[in-house]
């Protein structure tokens, strides 16, 4: 038993207890706060499983935005759940029991938790992690691998996984056998001199021969923005859709001189000073997270949520009128669409430059040497702009409702 499994076990027990409490608590505010707690616990679970990007998102979304949305709704609806007679809903219990039993039945043939033999670790994914997909198969006009390139060496960077051959008939994982624990693998450098091109004229660092010229150490971002960048474009569209659906369903024509609901807290000295101090740093941090996504955890979505939180904080303390002076509603609407357009526009630009949709290597014509990087940065900014503005818009719509 290693530390990951131990912490995981304890955290998941806490998570489960919280989940039961969320469902059973009658006060809706308490339920919402518990949801926030639940999300933060989940973020810890993700961190424990080394999924930093997901943890970041969960903390920002579950702990932050969802809670704001839910509280905003509660203000306009009800505080308490109406008491119901029967404590246990037998029909629901039966449905869940059957569904759960079916799902558990399916788990018996799964690879053990953390099994390096699992097919997902050594089929298709190693190339994506090594970022050498562009050379895979070497067919159909894909890039030719540079001289001295050794695919096996790249594959082998993923430690013990690489010792397991990619053999579709390999069924070792099915015996849920625990492999010999051969201790923590000491990080060791794999030779890079063999295939790293020398300094180019532009004075760039020597790049290893991979899909992104070594610019993207965070493989989550490389998958998110490049290999599966098309999914992410639609992810941004989903957010955009949610934003305009909300406007369509909630926005009322603004009347002149309508009293602003919810007094701003601008007369609270402590809050005012602290907010004034921290909002610029929050926005800066948001931008940092968006830009830094290629190098470490973070990216457009997380950064966008952070920026939205900065603006929301500002609106809470200084009032929405003050926010609208900085960002008038029409500007927010325009920016909402602009993010999606930036993303899809990047894709279309690749198309116009003669490649496939979202083929960032085409951007090398605009910015030799780091076109992929440029494309991914643009795309991340697109996500960031849309996400932050949609979140802000949703907050504004909920806040503009007349409380009941």
């Amino acid at each position: 038993m290693n530390a990951v499994v131990l912490i995981d076990t304890l955290l998941l027990i806490l998570v489960t207890i919280t989940a039961v409490a969320i469902i059973e608590v009658r006060n809706l505010y308490a339920s919402v706060m518990l949801t926030s707690v639940y999300s933060l616990l989940m973020a810890l679970v993700w961190v424990n499983m080394h999924s930093m990007d997901v943890a970041f998102t969960e903390a920002a979304v579950g702990g932050g935005i969802s809670t704001i949305l839910l509280i905003g709704t509660l203000v306009h609806t009800a505080r308490e759940e109406r008491p119901i007679k029967a404590r246990v809903h037998w029909k629901a219990l039966l449905v869940t029991a059957v569904t759960g039993a079916a799902l558990i039945y399916g788990t018996f043939d799964m690879p053990r938790f953390g099994d390096p033999h699992a097919p997902i670790h050594h089929f298709r994914v190693p190339e994506m992690m090594a970022q050498t997909v562009g050379f895979a198969n070497g067919t159909k006009g894909k890039q030719a691998p540079p001289e001295g390139f050794d695919a096996r060496e790249y594959r082998s960077f993923n430690g013990r996984v690489a010792d397991i051959p990619d053999d579709p008939t390999d069924t070792a994982w099915r015996e849920t056998s625990v492999l010999a624990q051969d201790g923590i693998i000491v990080p060791k450098v794999i030779g890079h001199a063999a295939h790293a091109p020398v300094h180019d004229d532009a004075g760039h660092h020597p790049h290893p021969a991979d899909d992104f010229n070594g610019h993207v150490p965070n493989s989550v971002t490389s998958l998110l923005a490049a290999y599966r960048g098309y999914d992410t474009m639609f992810e941004t569209t989903v957010i955009f859709t949610a934003g305009i659906s909300l406007i369509m369903l909630l926005r009322r024509p603004r009347r002149q001189g309508e009293a602003q609901v919810g007094a701003p807290m601008v007369d609270q000295a402590v809050l005012r000073v602290v907010t004034k101090m921290s909002v610029p740093f929050i926005l800066l941090f948001g931008l940092y997270v968006i830009t830094h996504g290629e190098l470490g955890p973070g990216g457009g979505f997380q950064g966008g949520v952070v920026i939205a939180c900065g603006f929301i904080l500002y609106a809470l303390i200084f009032g929405r009128a003050a926010l609208y002076r900085v960002l008038p509603p029409p500007v927010i609407d325009v920016l909402t669409g602009l993010g999606v357009l930036l993303y899809s526009g990047t894709g279309a630009a690749c198309l116009l430059l003669g490649g496939q949709f979202l083929d960032y290597s085409m951007l090398n014509r605009l910015s030799p040497g780091d076109g992929e990087s440029l494309g991914m940065t643009l795309v991340e900014y697109g996500v960031g702009i849309t996400v932050s503005m949609v979140m802000l818009n949703i907050f504004n719509q909920l806040a503009e409702e007349q409380p009941t």
Binding site: A102, L103, G106, F108, D109, M110, P111, A118, P119, I120, H122, F123, R124, E127, V133, G134, A136, N137, K140, G141, K142, P168, T169, T171, R174, A226, Y227, R228, G229, Y230, D231, F234, E235, T237, V238, F240, T241, I244, S245, I247, M248, L249, P253, D333, V334, G337, V340, L341, S344, G347, L351, L352, G354, G355, Q356, F357, L358, D359, Y360, S361
Partner: protein, 503 residues
């Protein structure tokens, strides 16, 4: 400039995406509608070209690798005869419905949010087209969520006419999300076992790895995908969301949904059952054939009876849609060439017929503000073209010869008779038609043989902008009923490739 021919699959999805986002900047009045019409018209044109490209290609498959990553790692767009056909349906009906939508939307949606409405409308089409064109399992999920979210919002826009639209939408949202989550879960189980997300890749792994088909994980993945897809396409016991949603949605939205949304759900079922799992696994190893046949037959009969009892015609057509979906499922659950061909053909036929009929109801709502059986009394004389369209569409639902419905039912009956011991299903198909005769006749009787309530004001025929799209669809159903070569050929071609195990 770019070579449109080489990029057709991606343009079909990205043009409505970019255009849909731009719709919010089109301002007020007729402009959002005109822009949406332009976009959907372009998409329709592109789907036609794509169809031609697929038919002309030697392999019958057009593949497009997004971002130029090899398909096993990146996301692939893969179009064969089946896809291209469904794309054509969604593109064509989407275009015609958009043309139709103008007057109906002007009447039913507040004027200050038309640009949002059309943006969501175009994005809904984008999502539906995206599901249909993709060859990547997870991409299906993301686009499914786009189309679902947009559809929830569109249904809820019926709120100003009837508050039931809100509960209908929320109910659909919860059931739809649970269904989509089941699909996500099924995809996850499959990914865990196969290690890939590409549909072709998954299929190859499922075929080549020894013992994988007996793996409990794969069995559970199959079951959950089936349940999730059934929720999404409103197969009989899981159809609870559909009647309300269709009844209370704005008229144009009902027409769009009836013609496209559930069809795309069925298409997903085709892809998962036939392309990923393969016909041998789905219908040989698993008892899904029997389960689906049972659900479909029960659905055809029970919803037929329920439809007869309805007074609200939109609700009646909604129940009828669930029943017609039963035919489609019945066809592919037979898992033989004629059955599947009947199913594919019926997707098209039902789309045009139901789309046209919902448009006719929309025209009645436009004039009368209601569409129940009492209000259509005597309407045969006052709105002759509209009622004629409804009647011809109804004949198609019945499966009357010389309408498109006849062709697909012919295939279905043939498919039933080809399977040993499955002949009672042919009886179910015929019984379903009989029930359709009853509920269509009620409307026809009221419209042509009864007098309107005394004192009700006379109404005019529906405006031309509604009649033309309506008759375009109804005319198509008659045209393809008389000349069934095109639909029949494509359906047979799609069926052969599906039964043959993947495109």
């Amino acid at each position: 400039m770019i070579d449109v021919q080489a990029h057709l699959p991606v343009l079909i999805v990205t043009i409505p995406l970019i255009g849909g986002v731009l719709t919010i900047a089109t301002g007020r009045g007729w402009k959002p509608w005109a822009w949406a019409t332009f976009l959907t018209g372009t998409v329709f044109y592109l789907t036609l070209r794509l169809m031609a490209q697929v038919l002309a290609s030697k392999t019958g498959v057009v593949s497009y690798e997004l971002g130029n990553w090899p398909r096993q790692w990146g996301i692939e767009y893969r179009v064969d005869a089946l896809n291209a056909f469904i794309l054509l349906i969604v593109g064509g009906v989407g275009f015609i419905t958009t043309v139709y939508a103008k007057l109906s939307v002007e009447k039913e949606i507040p004027a200050d949010r038309h640009h949002f409405f059309y943006a969501v409308w175009v994005l809904a089409l984008c999502g539906l087209l995206g599901i249909t064109v993709t060859g990547d399992a997870f991409n299906v999920y993301v686009l499914l969520e786009i189309s679902s979210l947009t559809v929830y919002a569109l249904i809820a826009m019926g709120k100003d006419r009837h508050r039931g639209a809100l509960t209908a939408s929320l109910r659909y949202l919860i059931l739809g999300s649970v269904g989509a989550s089941f699909i996500l879960l099924g995809i996850g189980y499959l990914m865990m076992i196969t290690g890939t997300l590409n549909m072709q890749d998954m299929h190859e792994r499922l075929m080549s790895v020894p013992g994988i088909q007996q793996s409990r994980t794969v069995l559970v993945a199959f079951a959950f995908l089936l349940v999730g897809l059934s929720m999404k396409m409103a197969l009989f016991p899981l159809h609870m969301w559909l009647p309300r949603a269709y009844t209370y949605a704005p008229s144009a939205v009902s027409a769009l949904l009836a013609a496209t949304a559930t069809k795309v759900g069925v298409y997903m079922a085709f892809r998962f059952l036939f392309t990923i799992f393969g016909v041998g696994f789905s219908f040989g190893m698993m008892p899904s054939g029997l389960v689906l046949l049972g659900c479909a037959s029960a659905g055809i009969i029970i919803t037929g009876i329920t439809a007869i009892r309805q007074t609200n015609l939109k609700r009646m057509l909604a129940y009828s849609s669930v029943g017609q979906l039963g035919y489609i499922v019945l066809g592919f659950a037979l898992a033989n060439v004629h059955g599947v061909a009947g199913s594919v053909a019926h997707i098209f036929n039902h789309a045009v017929m139901k789309g046209g009929m919902f448009m006719a109801l929309g025209a009645i709502v436009y004039r009368l503000d209601r569409c129940d059986i009492r209000s259509v009394r005597g309407l045969g004389k006052q709105m002759p073209l509209t009622m004629a369209a409804f009647t011809v569409g109804g004949l198609g639902l019945i499966g009357f010869p010389l309408t498109a419905g006849f062709i697909s039912k012919w295939y279905l009956v043939q498919g039933c008779l080809e399977r040993p011991h499955m002949w009672p299903l042919a009886g179910v198909v015929l019984l379903g038609s009989l029930l359709a005769v009853v509920y269509i006749w009620r409307v026809v009787e009221a419209a042509y043989f009864q007098q309107p309530d005394p004192g009700t004001p006379r109404v005019e025929e529906a405006p031309l902008l509604m009649l033309i799209p309506m008759w375009a669809l109804i005319g198509a159903s008659v045209f393809f009923g008389i000349n069934a070569t095109f639909t029949g050929d494509i359906a047979m071609r799609a069926a052969r490739s599906l039964i043959g195990g993947g495109p």
